[in-house]
Every structure is written in structure tokens, then in C-alpha cells.
């Protein structure tokens, strides 16, 4: 209050009076909370969700996140496998992003649009992996099949950016590391990644990588890119601690 003089220097000291006098104070607080959350997430406005990710794909990808359950208060519960108890962890300054593949210009090409951040704080990639589901056909009469999966960056020569030889007995998920490529992609304006998936000996062994299914009949097996990024100062701090 101005009459009380110096107390007005401190906005929070006059809050009780405001609360009693100003109608719609709660609405103003809610608006302030909304702005605060958007600021902290480096978003200009709330994302517009036009086509939600299929629930099966979402649940499957969430299982593979490096975190446990996010509790109601924002703390994260991590399973401690040694004692089969869960512990509460104070989160570090880090982000994990799951980017689902979209159809590329050809059937064997998948497209990932990695999150755009204006301040460019997604600059340090700790880890980036493509998760690919390899399906074994029922008709396949072999007990196990050895195939080689290769990823090529579209329009960037003939050298594979990642490859893995897989000994397959049954259908399942496989990861291919792509940290260096994703790091380079994050440095670009578009942050768009086109990957060609090739599989050596897949056809003859009855194995096929599940790519983007337009009919969403196999949505839970949709490929995705998972990346763990850190802000640069947090990253250097972490290295020093180790």
C-alpha cells in the first residue's frame, strides 16, 4: 500500500491485501502459472495436438524411457532393482525426447522431426538410439536368423551411419546408436532427419523391419528415435563430478 511507504517496494508483501480485494485473483494466478510453465519449457504457446500418438505406441515408448513414474508432485520414482524398492529422485537438468517416425518419401525411408527449441539448448546429445521392431514371419521355418540392419542418412552418401548384426529367434525391438548424426541434425535449422533402413538377408530369412504403417494396424511397433540431451552447463558439471 502506498500509504505504508517502503512496504510497497516488495510486491509479495502486499499480496494478502490484493487477494482480498481483487476479484478473479485465482484466474490471474492460473494465467500466471500457465505463462510460467510455458516459459520454463521454452514454449511460446501451448502445443496444438491435432493427431494424438496412438496409445499403444505411446505406452510402448514410455516403457523404454530412462525414467520411472512421474508422480503427482513432479518427482520421479525410480525402481531400485537391487532392493526391489522404489526411490525418489531429484531430477537433473535433462531432457529425453521420443520422436515417432513418420512416413518418408519412399517405403524404406522414415522421417523424424526432432523438437525445435528457440534458444538452442538442445545442443549436447548424451545418447540417441533408433528403436526398430524386427518381425519374424510365421512362415519362416528357421529356428534363428542372422540379419544385418543398416541405417543411411538420406542424401548423405553411401556410408551407413549405424549398423547392427542381429541374431533373431523371435520378433522384438532392437536399437541402433545414431548419436553423432542426431548431434549434427540438432545443429541445423530444420532439425529433420531422413533415414533409409536396409536389411541384409531379411527377405530370405523371413524377417522384416516394421516401418511406418499408414493404416496404424501395427502402431505399437512404430519405429522411434529416443534421445537424451543436456544443457551445456549441466553437462560439463556432470563430467566433472564423474
Amino acid at each position: 500500500s502506498p500509504e505504508e511507504g517502503p512496504a510497497s517496494d516488495c510486491p509479495s508483501c502486499s499480496l494478502p491485501k490484493l487477494q482480498a480485494e481483487v476479484a478473479g485473483f485465482d484466474n490471474q494466478l492460473v494465467e500466471a502459472v500457465k505463462r510460467h510453465i510455458l516459459n520454463m519449457l521454452h514454449l511460446k504457446s501451448r502445443p496444438n495436438i491435432t493427431h494424438p500418438v496412438p496409445k499403444a505406441a505411446l505406452l510402448n515408448a514410455l516403457k523404454k524411457l530412462h525414467v520411472g513414474r512421474v508422480r503427482e508432485d513432479g518427482r520421479v520414482e525410480i525402481e531400485d532393482h537391487s532392493s526391489s524398492k522404489s526411490a525418489l529422485n531429484e531430477p537433473e537438468q535433462a531432457s529425453e525426447i521420443i520422436s515417432f517416425a513418420e512416413a518418408g518419401p519412399a517405403r524404406d525411408i522414415v522421417h523424424f522431426q526432432i523438437a525445435k527449441e528457440e534458444d538452442g539448448d538442445l545442443s549436447l546429445v548424451d545418447q540417441a538410439n533408433i528403436w526398430l521392431y524386427l518381425k519374424v514371419s510365421n512362415k519362416s521355418n528357421r529356428s534363428r536368423s542372422e540379419v544385418t540392419i543398416r541405417l543411411y542418412q538420406e542424401g548423405d552418401g553411401s556410408q551407413a551411419i549405424s549398423q547392427k548384426r542381429v541374431d533373431i529367434k523371435r520378433s522384438g525391438w532392437h536399437t541402433l546408436p545414431v548419436s553423432r548424426t542426431v548431434q549434427a541434425t540438432l545443429a541445423t535449422q530444420e532439425r529433420s532427419l531422413l533415414l533409409k533402413v536396409s536389411c541384409e538377408r531379411c527377405q530370405e530369412t523371413g524377417v522384416s523391419p516394421v516401418l511406418v504403417e499408414p493404416a496404424e494396424k501395427d502402431a505399437s511397433h512404430q519405429p522411434f528415435l529416443m534421445l537424451l540431451v543436456r544443457q551445456s552447463d549441466a553437462h560439463t558439471h556432470r563430467i566433472r563430478k564423474r
Partner: protein, 116 residues
């Protein structure tokens, strides 16, 4: 730190929970279901400056020491009810490209308030 209960006028923490479903944000925020937008309010008479809250900085303790002894310019500085302990929060949400993002945000929730 003190919790505001409507009876005290001294610096305290006011709890304020916003459920994302109530504000129509549950379509893009996957977890948690809401946010504790706690804030600080109340008066800070000079005799309690730098005493409330468990995590007041060494800096404010030194300033308070000078203020009590009447040294200029510290004797004219007014104390303010501010967050003295904050904690991080993790959020899981969809971004504009429909990617799922899990972000850890430091200093997101006010845990304690005190007079600066």
C-alpha cells in the same frame, strides 16, 4: 518456513495447485496431472528479516547483520517475502511435432518462503 493458514500476516508459503485437466491442458501434458504453483506472501518486519526459512543465503545473513548494526546503506533496504527453497520437477508432454518430451526443470516448485 511458515504455511499460510489465513490467520498469520507474516511471510508464509501459500499452496496453490492447478490441475491440468481443469485448465484444458491435459491433452498435451502427459504427466504429472497438475502443478503446485505455490507462492510467497506476507509481511517482513525488519526484526524477522533473514530469520525465516531454512535455506536463506549466506549473503542475506551478512546483509542482515549490517542492517541490525545500522550500517548504511543496508539500514534502508526493505526485507521481502521470497522463496528460500525451491525444488525441481519433471514433466512429460507432447511438443508441436507430436514428439514426447520428458524434461527436468530446476527451481520449479516453491517449498519454503522467508524474509530476504
Amino acid at each position: 518456513g511458515l504455511e499460510c493458514d489465513g490467520k498469520v500476516s507474516i511471510c508464509c508459503r501459500k499452496q496453490f495447485y492447478v490441475n491440468f485437466r481443469d485448465i484444458g491442458w491435459s491433452d498435451w501434458i502427459i504427466a504429472p496431472p497438475g502443478y503446485y504453483g505455490n507462492y510467497c506472501e506476507g509481511e517482513c518486519p525488519s526484526h524477522i528479516a533473514g530469520t525465516s526459512g531454512s535455506s536463506l543465503s549466506f549473503h542475506s545473513a551478512v546483509i542482515n547483520h549490517y542492517r541490525i548494526r545500522g550500517y548504511s546503506p543496508f539500514n534502508n533496504i526493505k526485507s521481502c517475502c521470497v522463496p528460500t527453497k525451491l525444488r525441481a520437477m519433471s514433466m512429460l508432454y507432447y511438443d508441436d511435432e507430436h514428439n514426447i518430451v520428458k524434461k527436468d526443470i530446476q527451481n520449479m516448485i516453491v517449498e519454503e518462503c522467508g524474509c530476504s
